[in-house]
């Protein structure tokens, strides 16, 4: 084994660390730790000067491990790993010690104790660095085509965007017709556009040579990983297998049929989706129309707000009013949700337009009885009775029933309601945690058409980042199985969130590196302690604990 030669670089970060931690003393302390052959402090380790000092340190002192005590690995680790790499040192031989965010900034009034803590942290880092192992990143070949699941406005937009960039796209729609919910709408809020304007995109899809269309089709299996997904599509007459590099989930959602609500009957008590159909057919001539908002949403079993129903009800009310100004329209609501620069003004306009808004109490919801609606009014502390010829219920968009099956094929999570769950609500809104998989539109939460289009374009852009390169690099910090210790009990196979662990033809358990995310769950669970987690091995972690309790 080559002799360990650890170099420690302590960053003052101007005065951010230096004003609390005595960095030159800390560097002196580090010099006396086992295997440390060089240590110094710098004003800014991440500056050009600081980086040059690391490079020189590696060269002059023949360092084979580099420890930087500075800020947080969450922001600066890639930079220092890059420097190691540049100097011919395996980037996984780099170790980061956080003495700013988790020390100097949070113990400003306890300088002595902060200095003792910084020493402990450096000692732990040095001990860990001595046990670091060189790792390689894995290169994955990428098939430069994509699968888009769902042919509604999101799916169409994503598919067109990718096709126009020159990538082949398989667009799979389970119904006969593309366009999804647009086919059911009369006009689109808030500008009363005719959906057929959007449905022009369907023609574009059909004429786009790069898009291979599968209507009346469903996905029956998905195997593989980023760059190399193997998808089986079942059409009406045939089953076809295709290979793609990325997958975009754009399956949309469905309207809740309010079977258990307000004596819904599909005749004089209907949903907004059914109202749109009647508007299209010009069949609305009722005198008294009552709309009820939040039917089956924002309740115990379905917490969420469906986002699009307020604007939709307002739009339909105006359309009816314009056709027949004598119609009495009452909207029974809990809260009106009209965010955006124009929507709130639009709502105020509707109020001026002789549409009556009555707020109802969720604990005393409206009751339909003997041809009348009774609604309790909080201000009057009494019921108001309304005549009706037509009741329109604003029901939410709910997840498709087959989301669960699809999520299991993709090995991605659903949230509590059954919508698809993105990797991070703010930082990664259209990614799944698994590489190469994306989500857009109402598949993850009911959205308006403009939002659906924006998200669809985002997924196409993200997918293109992967598709435009022949190879993709994935992290080297994955799990590995010690075949001597493994007894094949399969606990790891069942526990892996990514299905990254399988058995080969010889019944030997193995980790598929490109699927493994290095979470370490299998390592902590393996009954025979036969799995070690690269870069977070047991010896590495135990060495940190040991360093912490060691007496000097």
């Amino acid at each position: 084994m080559t002799e360990l030669r650890i170099g420690v670089f302590v960053c003052n970060c101007g005065s951010n660390i230096g004003s609390i931690i005595n960095c030159s003393e800390l560097a002196d302390y580090a010099k006396n730790l086992p295997n440390v052959v060089f240590a110094e402090d710098n004003l800014y380790t991440c500056s050009e000067t600081g980086l040059t000092k690391i490079k020189n340190g590696i060269k002059e002192h023949n360092l084979n491990r580099v420890v930087v005590a500075a800020c947080t690995p969450r922001t600066h680790e890639p930079l220092f790993r890059g420097i190691c790499n540049e100097m011919g040192l395996n980037p996984y031989y780099f170790e980061f010690v956080n003495i700013r965010e988790q020390c100097s900034w949070v113990h400003q009034k306890e300088i002595h104790k902060a200095n003792l803590k910084a020493r402990d942290l450096v000692k732990m880092g040095v001990a860990r660095s001595a046990r670091l192992e060189a790792l390689e990143k894995y290169q994955v070949e990428v098939t430069s085509s994509s699968l888009v699941i769902g042919g509604g406005i999101s799916g169409i937009t994503a598919a067109l965007s990718l096709a126009e960039q020159g990538f082949e796209v398989y667009l799979v729609e389970k119904k006969r017709k593309l366009g999804g919910m647009l086919n059911d709408l009369y006009r689109i809020s808030p500008n009363y556009e005719d959906p057929s304007e959007y449905l022009q995109l369907v023609k574009k899809v059909e004429q786009q040579p790069k898009i291979i269309l599968h209507t009346n089709s469903e996905i029956i299996s998905i195997e593989g990983y980023i760059g190399n997904f193997y998808v089986t599509i079942k059409g009406q007459n045939k089953v076809e297998s295709v290979e793609v590099g990325t997958i975009i989930v754009a399956v949309g959602a469905q309207v809740l049929k309010p079977v258990d609500y307000y004596n819904y009957n599909g005749k004089d008590i209907i949903t907004h989706q059914e109202l749109e159909k009647l508007l299209k057919e010009n069949k609305i001539n009722q005198k008294n129309i009552v709309m009820i908002q939040c039917v089956g949403s924002r309740i115990e079993e379905r917490h969420y707000c469906s986002n699009i129903c307020c604007m939709n009800a307002l739009k339909n009310a105006i359309i009816i009013k314009e056709r027949a100004p004598d119609t009495n329209i009452t909207i029974l609501y809990r809260d009106i949700n009209t965010p955006g620069t124009k929507n709130e003004l639009y709502y105020r306009d509707v109020r001026k337009n002789e549409v009556i808004f009555l707020r109802y109490n969720v604990n005393k919801p409206p009751v339909i009885e003997d041809g009348k609606i009774r609604v309790y009014n909080n201000s009057l502390k009494d019921d108001i009775e309304l005549d009706y010829d037509l009741v329109v219920l604003s029901t939410p968009l709910i997840p498709n029933e087959d989301n669960k099956a699809l999520s299991q094929m993709l090995k991605v999570p659903l949230e509590e309601n059954g919508f698809f769950l993105e990797a991070h609500v703010k930082l990664r809104p259209v990614d799944f945690a698994t590489d190469g998989l994306f989500v857009c539109g109402s598949a993850k939460w009911p959205v308006s058409i403009s939002e659906a289009i924006a998200q669809a374009k985002a997924t196409a852009a993200k997918a293109a980042i992967i598709l435009c390169k022949p190879r993709f690099e994935v992290e080297g910090s994955t799990a590995r199985v010690d075949t001597e210790k493994c007894v094949g009990c399969e606990v790891c196979i069942k526990i892996c969130p990514y299905g990254a662990i399988t058995k080969d033809d010889n019944d030997q358990v193995l980790v598929r590196n490109v699927l493994c995310k290095g979470c370490g769950l299998c390592g902590a669970t393996c009954p025979h302690q036969a799995i070690s987690i690269n870069h977070f091995t047991n010896p590495q972690i135990l060495s940190q604990i040991n360093a912490l309790v060691e007496r000097e």
Binding site: R74, F536, I545, N546, V549
Partner: protein, 253 residues
Amino acid sequence: MEFEPKILGFLCNWCSYAGADLAGVSRIQYPPNLRVIRVMCSGRVDPVFVLDALMKGLDGVLVLGCHLGDCHYIDGNYEAESKYRALEMLLENINLNDRINLDWVSASEGMRFADLVDEFTEKIKSLGPSPISSSTKDLKLLDELQAIKRVFSNSRIRSLIGRERKITLLENTYGETIDFEKFNKILKDALDSEFYRSQIYLSLLKKSASVKDISQEINIDKTLVFKNLLMLRQRGLADVAGVDGLDPIYKAL
């Protein structure tokens, strides 16, 4: 001088470590007693690590992960919870359960992170130094911890904990779903008997002894000692070494 506990923290990279970073960026001040080991997921924390830290005399161990449902690795923190709960069960037997804590901190909860560290540090301060690290080192407790560490290295126990969520949420090999209460009882029984066996085995490793001697040494009922000795014999870990009067003497193998 006031007691300054040394507390080890396992923070997951995506939520709690990021929450700790945010506490720093926001300059929220908290006690300087925590020493952090960053792991990718709280589910990486093998109970053996926590036991190792306690055996080495650290005063407390804090494990922080993403909130349930927010795990970067889908459900790693649920697995962390299973492991932690099992660990807590056995540490309760030796009164050390108050020295460990598992909780959740999101990347945006800098304040919550600081509060949790604050609370836990206060709690450990009120408990006083670890009985292992104090000058009157509690050797009996160290033996018990050693036994618990053996329990959590035992493949039967590890596989039971590893299968918990599958068995209670989905179904076992025979297509049955075991309800959570029932599973907990099974787990507790398994942990307790494995704990006895480990204690008996470790005691025999030090010195061959009769059932009565062992019973006195580790302070458990003679019937229990005998029952578990039989199990150890079956596993080939103990055997009869000789006879003292009418009492058989056992040895570790």
